[in-house]
């Protein structure tokens, strides 16, 4: 892009959007990168619209000038989907924030896309209802980004991915057309369900500006238990038994390999080890129920069965809010990676549950053979067939062998028929591995959709795949 072309683009943006446009060194540092760990990139402009029409105007101008627009939400994505691209502008939704309506009869909430997830959760809670989307970055991430990436999190086992919570969307297409489908009905089969296109396509097909979400009944009881199992087959038996006996009350089933449990409880002095002795695998199990008189008894009976059958070796049931927080603290210690490990290479792979133990054992062996004594933590949402791996080679310092580690891990996932991303998305970091999981026919169809919706190829260009 020539300086003249860039100046012409920025002039037109300034004329149309005025104060919403910032350029050069006036662009604050946070807008120059997301949480992917990729180095900051200075965009040619930062656009911060206050309303949908301004988003449309920006996209029309970008199309006329052939300039890439990168949509940005809370910038908490780990795959680089919101990372600025050289020569492109970024468009932040951060000023389009706020609850527009809560409808207690329809159990729905309508919000602007830039609203932080936690604000939506609190609004639902105050109305006596419950939002089934939750993840660690709740305070920073925005609902528009959650939907653009089809966010997962800890409670997918009970409530499903972000997609399943969306009733309606307002979206601006790359050409600036505003498509307003703020549907509140659970069932609406009148023509194509267009919103599905934009959920999980990482901002490459349109910019989400408003959202209608489905809310749930708020659980009346929550019980948490931390279990030690002998091995992974026992964990699968526990999952199967818990599902069959608790049904939809099973609201979390978080599994931690000893690599994770030992490292985190060893490094963080504030973490108490919930169980007295070591086990082969650890499970944090949560029950969310609607019968205050019976739920805890039911969970205790199920756990007694599991102990009796040898499926669980030891278990501790939280009996206070504080104990519940302590149990979750082990799993939630992932937010301390940066402090404990320095630069990491992180994965959110999906694997068939019954192949996980073997695939992880194979990866661990190959990893240790290549980088003896290096760190590889493993944990995940087993009920959703989603595992996280976090690697650090201490000897490599700031020059982690990201590509080699990724080739090793994702190569094993590919061989096992898994997915290179279960929840974080493809963005930039996993782009070259997308074909590990998707066939040529699938990739061609994705490209066909991108070309149909964004013929100028200006929206989040180069993310997910290269046309």
């Amino acid at each position: 892009m020539t300086e003249t072309a860039k100046a012409a683009f920025i002039d037109e943006l300034n004329a149309a959007l005025g104060a919403a446009v910032v350029t050069g060194e006036d662009i604050p540092a946070p807008f120059r990168h997301d949480w992917s760990g990729l180095p900051p990139v200075l965009p040619i402009a930062l656009i911060r619209p206050r309303e949908t029409d301004e988003v449309a105007t920006a996209l029309k101008i970008a199309n006329r000038h052939g300039v890439t627009i990168v949509p940005q939400g809370g910038l908490t994505g780990l795959a680089g989907g919101a990372q600025p691209v050289a020569g492109g502008a970024v468009l932040s939704l951060d000023r389009m924030s706020g609850i527009e309506e809560i409808d207690p009869v329809m159990a729905s909430i309508t919000v602007k896309a830039g609203t932080p997830l936690e604000v939506v959760q609190k609004a639902a809670d105050e109305a006596g209802l419950f939002l089934g989307i939750d993840l660690g970055a709740r305070g920073s991430c925005q609902i528009g980004g959650n939907l653009a990436t089809n966010a997962g999190g800890n409670r997918v086992i009970r409530y499903g991915m972000a997609r399943e919570h969306v009733l309606g969307l307002e979206v601006v297409l790359p050409d600036g057309t505003v498509v307003t489908s703020l549907n509140k009905l659970i069932k609406n089969n009148a023509g194509y369900d267009l919103k599905q296109l934009f959920i999980g396509s990482e901002g490459t097909l349109g910019i989400i500006t408003r959202v209608v979400l489905r809310l749930q009944a708020k659980p009346l009881t929550v019980n948490t238990v931390f279990c030690g199992c002998r091995d992974f087959p026992a964990v699968l038996d526990l999952l199967k038994g818990a599902r069959a006996r608790l049904g939809p009350a099973l609201s979390a089933f978080e599994v931690m390999w000893p690599s994770f449990y030992d490292f985190m409880t060893g490094k963080l002095s504030e973490l108490r080890r919930p169980l007295g002795r070591p086990h082969g695998v650890y499970v944090l199990l949560e029950q969310s129920g609607f019968d205050p008189e019976a739920d805890s008894g039911r969970l205790e009976a199920v756990m007694a069965e599991m102990l009796e059958a040898g499926i669980v070796e030891d278990a501790v049931l939280a009996s206070s809010e504080r104990e519940t927080r302590d149990l979750w603290a082990v799993r939630d210690s992932v937010s301390e990676y940066g402090k404990l490990m320095g630069p990491i290479t992180a994965f959110d792979v999906g694997l068939q549950t019954d192949r996980m133990a073997d695939v992880i054992a194979g990866i661990e062996a190959a990893y240790q053979a290549r980088w003896p004594g290096a760190i590889l933590l493993v944990y995940g949402h087993i009920g959703d067939s989603n595992l996280h791996l976090v690697a650090n080679v201490p000897a490599a310092g700031d020059h982690q062998p990201h590509d080699d580690i990724t080739d090793l891990v994702l190569g094993a996932v590919r061989a096992a028929g898994g997915t290179v991303s279960a929840e974080h998305g493809i963005g930039l970091l996993k782009k070259k591995y997308l074909h590990f999981t998707r066939s040529d026919a699938e990739l061609a169809l994705m490209a066909r959709l991108k070309a149909a919706l964004d013929p100028g190829n200006i929206l989040n260009t180069g993310k997910v795949f290269t046309l």
Copy 2:
């Protein structure tokens, strides 16, 4: 289409697919119409492939000759989506039937698209699991058609629409490309979620050939109660209370207006009226739970509260399988319409729940003013904001004023911001009303998708919308 062109198309089909092709009067009567009530149409050919490659071959030939292909499943659709079109061929999936795999660990089932829904349900049940899709036509409808139309049914309130049960699909695109995405992972965010395009697009974007479905834990208890409420606001209070206190155990909430209840129990001598005296509105409520020791007590306690608060005037709880069947028989009597009423005009509208009472009262008044004494039955899945209306004007005999009735009902739905189809889809019958529910921008985007996937416009041409 000239006779020569038609003969060339059929010659090529015969050469490529041989015994899978039938023409002229050899085409059995059932393939000439679906359950929409539209008059039979003789297609120029019936193609009954046995495998995916044959579907691809048929579509490639159709593209070369510019001939429309209408995909057919169990032909139980009510909107005309599987109705043959003049000058077009039909392609039935009925020979592509059977369970390919049940995976108890992943809780998934892989089936061919032509498998009847009931066969899938039974296979899941035999594996100790449960399929959350259910509807009256279960014995005849096919799973491919259920997904192509994003079927609803009685248990959407608990398990969601058909879309929410799909993990993977194999689809043949209009140009004959086979896209195989037989994913079994709950979470898979690697690129666009392509399957969403084909679910609910009524066979206009691709032909579904294989399916991976998610299975659920099988409920351990089912309790059913039939309630009489004073009026619709009381029904909403009951819904709200049942949701808040039963959570996901609330597995059906079927509401019947007196028009429906009185007519069906009056006409069908085998139906016992569950309640002793008349009420303003009737509700069939089902609880599906996982605590055999507590569930029925919990439901009784909730019902006692509702009676105490005057929300429910009277209620009867089924205490045997026979009593459960008797209670459901009232709701399920809809299969007797043909016998009781002759030709009907039927609707599956969606409305915001809090507007239903007023909209229905308005429609009833206008309908009776126009056709005094004519029949209009109202019932529906209120928890999903979905209502059914069934109309018959006895004086009109076989010449029902379908268009006038439809204009009246859907005009009122449009004015209230509802949808012209909550679950049956658009097909041919609701096509001219699609713009009551969808904006110009939405319709243009649907057309853009259709053009991108089916540039020759040969797949189920003229269904849902006209390009």
